[in-house]
């Protein structure tokens, strides 16, 4: 092969413009943000470089629905001919970034206010516009007004423009697909979403009052009211349980320390509806410009009962500025946030115990879920987190006072009614441990406190039954045994309940699996593996799987039936009714056919009773 030649990439500019404009951004609304940001940076530049006393920056926005034109005008620094060519028409070259680099030495305050950096923002105009016209006059002495025009293809035109005042006006000929831009209400909403906190006033043409707040709530004179207003307006929530205001945070890097500039606040909503990532999110601003909402990676994973808003210049936006890069300083900002959140919550726990209790109770599912994974957090919440019990929400210390150091719980909502009845019958409330983390929490609590006994009632309800001498009831037992029903006589409370049918823990699954295997519903090779496992499952007594009828010797009806001669015609019907009702009440392992048969038996018994 001949010696290699160095060649240059060829760029198809219209294609690149189209790709960048249409694929870089996910929402057309960002075009407004990008143009407002250019205006803002231009005003900052004029403040920094212009040395003009009494300079009052402003941005004005107007729409002309008839001409389909959106106009954004500022009294910033304007652009010279060279700057238009160098920066406006060179993709990827950002004047703001270069200005920021210059200013960071001479005027760090102004430099820190600059937002742009990629040199791509202006492209977003073509998201919404078929034609962009920019008229500008630079603050540089002797500058003439210029008019720059492009339809987003490879060409642009520059010509002398008509403009007396220093500044820039951008006119967008709005595409049909972006007609919403011509709706003043939607436009104001968009401007407020992105630029509410920009310190430069933005006016709708003809209005005397700026449409943006200009001051973020954390800098407002009445911060508390401003933050509550923000929570209501942006998060659509009211009455947060707590607000933690953020401030700069020094974090230890091991070899060094770094101070992370942080502004904003975190808050705890009044309650959680569901656990999974309902909250734990932040609205993110960088240098007062809104970047994104629902950012879920900045707060620690356990903080799903917290929401908030932050402004941190150390966060790095992506090129589209709709997301945050998760590299470099991201981890440090995460760390700073976690430190402040932990300190804030600890402070609440120590100084406002009532508020802390309300936080834990309002978010108990989320908090138990995390506490089982984190010992320190567990110690903070162990005694105040509340659980659903058959007597309403109770903390464990409150619960244990009622049960003498034993926690009775059920792990499934289905079928728990019977266990709750038994528990309450003995005067003990039952904890609903159907939420995945509750059992683990209870176990951890028992290990932590010691001398606490845990009793899982589903499948183990027999613990609440007391055996009795069966002799007086042999005739009743005989009746059931003849029907193939496994029966025991015990006492339990409440005394009004004559009988219960109790199944072992895995009875339903074993029954279901056996039915599936018997009916050939599992593919052959898999069926063998399933069958092997089912056969090995703990079945201390095979008959247990079908359930055991426990007659309550404390119940007056059972006592009366025990004394009734077997020949008494109504006795058998009543015994049948008792069994079927107990079976239906237990509700387990019943197929629709079983239920139908149970009702059939019940009706037959009732008819027999009625005919007597």
């Amino acid at each position: 092969m001949e010696e290699s030649k160095r060649q240059q990439f060829q760029i198809h500019l219209p294609g690149l413009l189209k790709v960048l404009a249409e694929n870089l951004y996910s929402s057309k609304k960002v075009a407004v943000r990008e143009l407002l940001q250019n205006s803002h940076d231009s005003c900052v530049r004029r403040s920094a470089e212009g040395n003009e006393r009494g300079y009052r920056p402003r941005v004005e926005v107007s729409v002309d629905p008839e001409r389909r034109v959106l106009t954004i005008s500022d009294n910033g620094s304007g652009l010279s001919t060279e700057e238009v060519t160098e920066y406006l028409s060179t993709i990827g070259r950002s004047y703001t970034r270069e200005l920021g680099e210059k200013l960071s030495v001479l005027s760090p305050d102004e430099a820190s206010q600059l937002i742009g950096q990629f040199g791509l923002g202006f492209l977003s105009a073509f998201l919404v516009a078929s034609e962009v016209t920019l008229t500008t006059k630079s603050m540089k002495e002797g500058s003439q007004a210029l008019r720059w025009r492009s339809t987003g293809d490879v060409h642009y035109d520059i010509a002398p423009g008509e403009r007396d005042a220093i500044g820039t006006t951008v006119e967008l000929k709005v595409k049909p697909s972006a007609s919403f831009m011509l709706n003043s209400e939607l436009l104001v909403e968009t401007i407020q979403q992105y630029a509410d906190f920009l310190p430069i006033p933005i006016y709708m043409a003809g209005d005397n009052m700026p449409i943006n707040l200009m001051t973020p709530p954390w800098d407002a004179i009445d911060r508390q009211t401003a933050m509550l207003d923000y929570i209501g307006r942006v998060f659509k929530m009211s009455e947060p349980l707590a607000i933690i205001q953020l401030h700069d945070q020094t974090i230890d890097l091991g070899h060094d320390e770094i101070t992370i500039p942080l502004q904003g606040f975190l808050f705890v909503p009044s309650h959680s509806v569901a656990s999974v990532h309902e909250y734990g999110d932040l609205a993110v601003y960088i240098r007062r410009m809104f970047i994104c909402e629902h950012q879920r990676d900045l707060l620690p994973p356990w903080a799903r009962f917290v929401r908030g808003v932050i402004d941190c210049p150390y966060l790095q936006p992506t090129a589209s500025r709709e997301e945050i890069h998760q590299e470099d300083m991201f981890g440090s900002v995460q760390q700073a946030l976690e430190q402040q959140l932990v300190a804030g919550l600890r402070n609440i726990a120590e100084t406002e115990p009532t508020v802390w209790k309300r936080i834990v109770q309002g978010h108990s599912d989320v908090i138990t879920g995390w506490a089982v994974r984190d010992n320190e957090f567990f110690a903070q919440v162990a005694d105040i987190v509340t659980f659903r019990t058959s007597r309403g929400l109770l903390s464990l210390p409150e619960y244990l006072k009622l049960t003498n150091g034993t926690v009775y719980y059920v792990t499934r909502e289905l079928g728990s009614l019977q266990e709750q009845l038994l528990g309450e019958g003995r005067g003990v409330p039952v904890v609903d441990a159907s939420w995945f983390s509750v059992t683990a929490f209870l176990q951890k609590y028992a290990d932590f406190k010691q001398d606490i006994q845990l009793v899982q009632l589903d499948g183990e309800s027999k613990q609440l039954l007391r055996p009795v001498d069966a002799d007086p009831y042999l005739a009743l037992m005989d009746f059931y045994r003849k029907l193939g029903i496994r029966v025991r006589v015990v006492t339990f409370k409440p005394e009004e309940v004559p009988a219960l049918v109790i199944y072992p823990k895995d009875a339903e699954f074993i029954t279901e699996s056996r039915n599936a295997l018997d009916q050939g519903m599992l593919p052959g090779p898999l069926a063998g593996l399933v069958s092997d496992y089912i056969d090995k499952m703990k079945t201390s007594d095979e008959d247990d799987i079908r359930g055991t009828l426990y007659l309550n010797a404390s119940c007056a009806l059972i006592k009366q039936l025990a004394e009734t001669p077997p020949a008494e015609a109504t006795r058998d019907s009543v015994l049948t009714l008792i069994y079927q009702v107990a079976r239906l009440f237990a509700g387990r392992t019943l197929t629709p056919t079983d239920v139908k048969a149970a009702f059939g038996e019940t009706i037959k018994a009732l008819e027999a009773l009625a005919s007597k």
Binding site: V276, P301, A516, P525, G528, L529, V530
Partner: protein
């Protein structure tokens, strides 16, 4: 429809309907996925939360989606085969229902059941495992990732059964078919390493381990990275390159501290034999003891028996009494369907052979 297409469409529909709870159903999985190797307990908790959310929303497919991934954590990262086996049986029974006839992850759930048996007692259930793999083969279409998992299982089974010719054949297929993947190709390299080790082909072992290391780093697989490094240390030591072996050994110690998941069985084997061939029996014993601690009560019966066998051999080499260790090993072996092979080895050791 592939699994990911289904998820993509489901989330899209939920978002369009403004149903944020459903639109968020995928998120716990995304969060958990990043933690499989670094913090499997937390990953499992997140998946449990996802499952609970699916249950609250009565989304049957999502419940099984989360159970499948919980099983993956139980099978490969915690690992806890007892819990995995129980869950996989329940899922297999559940999948018979008409509701799941079109569920794209149905095959994966069946694979979980086989994996659970392969992890606990592969020899004891060999026939059923082979039949089940053949059955799944017929279910898997060439356009889904399940074909990689299935081939990986065939390789793993052959290796566990020490059927080396079969393992070689299946591993070659596995390596060829996964060339354009990241995860599966790295997995194929772990199989190649195990095969080379069993064949006592040290140069080949070193080559596969080095290539595997590059893949594990590229695809961020710290659990397998550790395994590849341990194989390299062993192969280098075995081929007389002690200095290089020691250098790698030092980096292994650093990597192991960073791993939250339990290292693989091959890792312990490679590391222990590295010490053995260096004459460092107590270090080898320490590695096997660490491995044993991860196995006790977890239902990896065959692996636990083999680990105990290694410990007994080391004790014998060190001239120490076998006593209680032998009793414990026999007790565990008795849980296998057919413990005869191991009992014979224990008898030999007892006789000092």
């Amino acid at each position: 429809m592939s699994l990911w297409n289904w998820i993509y469409q489901f989330i899209g529909r939920a978002e369009a309907a403004g149903d944020t709870l459903r639109a968020d159903l995928f998120r716990p999985f995304q969060d958990a996925l990043e933690l499989f190797e670094t913090d499997p307990d937390q990953a499992f908790g997140l998946l449990a939360e996802g499952r609970q959310a699916a249950q609250q929303l009565r989304e049957a497919w999502w419940i099984l989606f989360y159970e499948h991934w919980q099983m993956q954590v139980l099978l490969f990262y915690k690992p806890d085969l007892k819990a995995a086996l129980d869950m996989s049986v329940r899922c297999a029974v559940e999948t018979r229902k008409e509701t799941y006839a079109q569920f794209p992850q149905r095959v994966c759930l069946h694979e979980d059941l086989i994996n659970a048996y392969m992890g606990s007692d592969p020899a004891g259930y060999a026939d059923q495992i082979v039949q089940a793999l053949d059955y799944i083969q017929a279910e898997v279409t060439p356009d889904v990732d399940c074909r990689f998992c299935l081939q990986g299982m065939r390789v793993e089974f052959a290796l566990l059964m020490r059927r080396l010719d079969e393992a070689e054949r299946e591993t070659a297929i596995y390596t060829a078919m996964t060339q354009r993947t990241g995860h599966y190709l790295t997995a194929a390299h772990t199989s190649q390493c195990s095969l080379s080790y069993l064949r006592q082909q040290w140069d080949s072992l070193l080559g596969w381990a080095q290539a595997g290391e590059a893949l594990a780093r590229r695809h961020d697989k710290p659990q397998w990275l550790l395994e590849f490094l341990a194989w390299q240390a062993f192969a280098l030591q075995k081929t007389g390159q002690s200095e290089a072996a020691q250098r790698i050994f030092r980096s292994i110690m650093l990597q192991e501290k960073r791993l939250g998941a339990v290292p693989t069985e091959s890792y312990f084997t490679a590391l222990s034999t590295y010490h053995e061939i260096s004459g460092e029996y107590s270090e080898a014993m320490e590695v096997r003891r660490r491995q044993l601690a991860t196995l006790v009560g977890k239902g990896k019966t065959q692996t636990e028996v083999e680990c105990r066998l290694h410990i007994l051999r080391l004790l014998q080499q060190m001239g120490l009494p076998l006593g209680e260790e032998m009793t414990a090993a026999r007790d565990i072996a008795a849980q296998l369907v057919d413990p005869s092979r191991y009992l014979a080895e224990f008898d030999q050791l007892s006789r000092g052979v």
